[in-house]
């Protein structure tokens, strides 16, 4: 069934062992409170999360896929930016 006048929301979940909120999907809801409830019901049914963010999809500014070349290709030839040229001591742990 169509859901007229119901804005789209992007859902972010922080999992039990996760460090940051991760995008998990989107949903329709008339306002932020209902979006949060719907996110709880749709995306945390199997114990996935400890925290939820919902963001209006319209608030997201996205990069243009047509500008892929200009945006991302210059980084691809610069392998020296990857920290693979030195050994990380074990004591440093998770980086």
């Amino acid at each position: 069934m169509a859901t007229p006048n119901t804005p789209l929301w992007e859902v972010f979940i922080r999992s039990r062992n996760g460090l940051a909120h991760k995008h998990v999907g989107s949903l329709h809801a008339s306002d932020a409170t209902l979006a949060l409830q719907a996110a709880r019901d749709i995306y945390t049914r199997r114990g996935e999360g400890l925290s939820i963010w919902v963001v209006p999809s319209s608030a997201i500014t996205a990069s243009d896929p047509a500008e892929k070349g200009m945006m991302f290709e210059p980084a691809e030839s610069k392998i020296y930016r990857h920290p693979t040229f030195y050994d990380v001591p074990d004591e440093v742990g998770h980086m």
Binding site: M1, T3, T6, L27, H28, A29, S30, D31, T33, L34, Q37, A38, R40, D41, I42, R45
Partner: protein
């Protein structure tokens, strides 16, 4: 129907537990009827989730009733092999889904009650009932939140949603009194510290209901005439239809499993 109904030895504690179990099963079944029919996918999932919460509560309560009764009955027999007159749920909960407003008002009236009820039951001297209450309370708290938010939006929404919400309140109000009634058997359990005295919850329930309903620009009916009967097996015509669907497989193919 191919299979006869079971006999239940309704001692006060068995009856008390069955009443709570039947409440959960019947409301849970009603919510499951929305599956695939809700106004939007998000709400479809939410209603099914709440239905599953209630089904889980029913299973634990039926299992406990079976243990207390000790006559070889189990959760499935209680659910599938009792006739309408043996069901002990509140009349409120067997009322048809109607439109979305009716479903939400029914949920709201009951969740506002159930949340207080489970919280009080956590102090029961019966350890099993106290444990079931502790788990159920977290579920009913969310059901109350969910339905409250909808009552606010329906009541304070469009002209049509307001009218539908008000009609649902007017239609279902007379079934709310039954939540607060007890019989002699239950009174004895209350005195023994096992059961909850619902009368002690009424003022808080009314306060919760009134605050949400008023904020939603809706009103409660003036009438205080209350319908009753479900707790003693005198049901509306709707429950028989519900059970015929709920029980058809077990009645037709006894003991069938997936």
């Amino acid at each position: 129907m191919a299979v006869a109904s079971i006999q239940v030895s309704e001692t006060p504690l068995v009856l008390y537990t069955l009443r709570r179990a039947d409440d959960a099963l019947i409301l849970g079944h009603r919510l499951s009827e929305w599956c695939g029919h809700a106004p939007m996918l998000e709400e479809d999932m939410a209603l099914a989730n709440m239905g599953l919460d209630l089904l889980g509560q029913a299973r634990e309560l039926y299992s406990y009733a079976a243990k207390v009764e000790g006559k070889g009955n189990d959760e499935d027999k209680f659910a599938y092999l009792r006739d309408v007159r043996q069901y002990r749920n509140l009349l409120l909960l067997e009322q048809p889904n109607g439109d979305f407003a009716h479903t939400m008002v029914r949920q709201f009236f009951y969740a506002a009650f159930a949340d207080l009820y489970w919280r009080a039951m956590m102090k029961s001297s019966d350890a099993m009932l106290a444990a079931i209450a502790a788990k159920s309370e977290k579920e009913s708290a969310y059901h109350l939140r969910h339905s409250s938010e909808w009552i606010l939006r329906l009541g304070d929404g469009t002209e049509e949603s307001h009218a539908r919400a008000q009609t649902a309140i007017d239609d279902l109000w007379a079934f709310t009194g039954e939540m607060f009634q007890v019989d002699d058997g239950e009174r004895a359990l209350i005195d023994a510290g096992i059961a909850v005295d619902p009368a002690t919850l009424h003022s808080q329930w009314l306060k919760t209901v009134l605050s949400i309903v008023s904020e939603a620009t809706l009103v409660l009916p003036k009438s205080d005439w209350m319908q009753q009967g479900g707790r003693s097996g005198r049901h509306s015509e709707h429950l028989g239809h519900l059970l015929s669907e709920l029980q058809s497989m077990q009645r037709t193919f006894p003991g069938v499993t997936w």
